[in-house]
Symmetry: none
Subunit: 206 residues, 4 copies
DNA sequence: GATGAATGAGACTTCATTCAT
DNA sequence: AATGAATGAAGTCTCATTCAT
């Protein structure tokens, strides 16, 4: 009630000192559970559901993530990290075009598995206040930019698209796949359409 | 909201008897307000907000739409109807290819205006229980199918896509545009990519 | 969660239009119940307890007082109003000295009955943000000032005390009486001591 | 907190065996920290806050004081002890009247410093179940009784007040001073009023 | 003994829905 | 029919207390 002014909403512990082994383990469990639950039930599920899925009490969830929003953000960040790593891994691939489309395809497929990677992508560049998200998002953006540029230089991707459009298409295609109920056929065809659309127009000059 | 058991509630009044003039007028006002409010504030807004926007009391909203979900569905249906009409209007266009892409483009643009037509499209074919939605959805599906078939016959759209993929792409592209914050440039380029991807491959036979 | 920015914390209804008859009745019941419950169980009781005592649901309490703090403040204001009226009623009494001590005595006695008028007095002049409380508090202050001044002019109260001290002594004596478990004897003697202390020193000039 | 049934829990360790040196040191630190924190933030602060102020973990606080209430009581007792000592020290003063008023004044002043000695006084004689508090309270009562009696015999204090009233006035005056925001002027005047009120009526015999 | 992570009951508050006016 | 007050289930978050390390 009254005694709340000092509400800087930070986690309970002194963020600097690394967590105790068991605490770190629990934090990870909560994060994993949250990822799964949010994916399958939407961001509207209750925190209790997350706690239950993680096999801990609500208190524990709130100890690690002071707010439901903080938990959501943490899930997003984790997802972005995975994507950023994938993109980085493909950074020096021999065939830049293949690498680019490979990444594109993988994102959609992963989303089909994790059931809403989309949400992660959606977090890119949005909500400037969420510092962590933005930082990680930047990593992803950089890696993706690199992938795209090389693919364009190799003539595998049309020149008039930039990362913005690629991200948008990534998000959109994932949404499309989701809408199709993740039906493999529709998903494949949708992906094909978008990928073909991304290739340079074959100017039929003889 | 959702977790209610299949509780088939009907509107308060006898569906057969036509509404009194003022009642009909109120229903329309509520629907319009709901469309606007849900669009700008998301489906999570309170029913009170809708009522306020419509200039009526909550009671009135519930009299016309027995449930918040029912109200949401009604909004969806209304949006689908508009789309179905658009599609029908283009059914006999001279240039089937142009007609198809015209529709595609319009959907995205309208979404940008209404700010979440996406949600409407997303309702197509989902939630089999929502009978009305399904019915209207079928109309839209039929009209779209017609548009697609003619465009394919005219050689303007690749053969390996069906309505399912088109719908998915419609939903996805709208989502992409939404993600891009409805930025006109990104929107245009995204749309271009998808449309180009939908065209038949220009087989580079000399 | 998210949709909270517009949190101006006002009561639900349009404060300007007078409440419906039943609503006003309920508001009064809630206020009375709150006064009683807070008095007997302390400000820490749950809002549910207040609701129960008022015979309404929690929702109703929150409809009228958007916050537990708001409810507490309302109770304070109500108490201050009563005191202010009492003081005003004595404003033109014939014997200013008697009037002053009459008021002093009454406050203590009333506190014994209502069991914590003290809290009300305690609110005087504190918490500058609570506008209503301050306004009403000012009324009380003015009335009390008037009472005091007249009593001093009449030579019934020592010259070196101002309203501040009187208020403080009022609060303190009530607290003393409360501490004594409202034992009538102790209360009477305590009051006698304070009142005697407030009279001018009988300068023993022959 | 309170609503627990009479659950007579004892401290974790065997009360008879003296504590280890470091444990005793910790107990003292916790008690001091609790005194300070409760004084400045009210009894509603969290146990964590106390632990933090003491530079120990919550667990340690609970090891020494099995309950938050127990901690509060311990703080009260400690405060009462100080008061009792003060009173004892003045027991044989040459001028009994001066000694009495000296004690009275000191209590208020100390409260101003510690900012809520009041709470300590308030514990006197209340809550019969808190055995320790009662015992120590008795010491204080005895010492105060002695002080009062001697002062009355010396004709410095009116005959119609007993320890009960003195305690009540002590509590009340402290409360008054607290209400006045510990403003030195108001405090001094309030004190003067009460002290004057405690003196025998100067019977105006020529 | 000390630590701080985990626990979960319980507090506050919101909002879909009902119902008296 | 319309209104808006009342209701109470449910969600988020806090904090006294326990317990593994």
């Amino acid at each position: 009630m009254h005694p709340e002014p000092p509400d800087q909403r930070a986690s309970r512990h002194d963020a600097r000192r690394p967590l105790r082994a068991d605490a770190r383990r629990n934090r990870a469990r909560v994060l994993a559970a949250a990822d799964a639950v949010f994916a399958s039930e939407g961001a509207a599920t209750t925190t209790e559901a997350v706690a239950r899925a993680a096999g801990v009490g609500v208190g524990t969830v709130f100890r690690h993530f002071p707010t439901k929003d903080a938990l959501l953000e943490a899930v997003f960040v984790a997802r972005l990290e995975v994507l950023a790593e994938e993109a980085s891994a493909l950074a020096d691939a021999e065939d830049p075009g293949a690498a680019f489309f490979e990444f594109f395809t993988r994102v959609i497929e992963q989303s089909a598995n994790r059931h809403t990677f989309a949400a992660a992508l959606a977090a890119t560049g949005v909500d400037v206040e969420h510092t962590t998200a933005v930082t990680v998002g930047d990593d992803l953006l950089d890696a993706l930019d690199h992938l795209l540029m090389r693919a364009q230089e190799a003539g595998a991707v049309r020149e008039d698209v930039s990362v913005s459009e690629v991200i948008a298409l990534l998000v959109g295609t994932t949404r499309a796949a989701e809408h199709a109920g993740w039906d493999p056929t529709v998903q494949a065809r949708t992906l094909a359409v978008v990928c073909d659309g991304l290739r340079p127009a074959t100017d039929a000059t003889p």
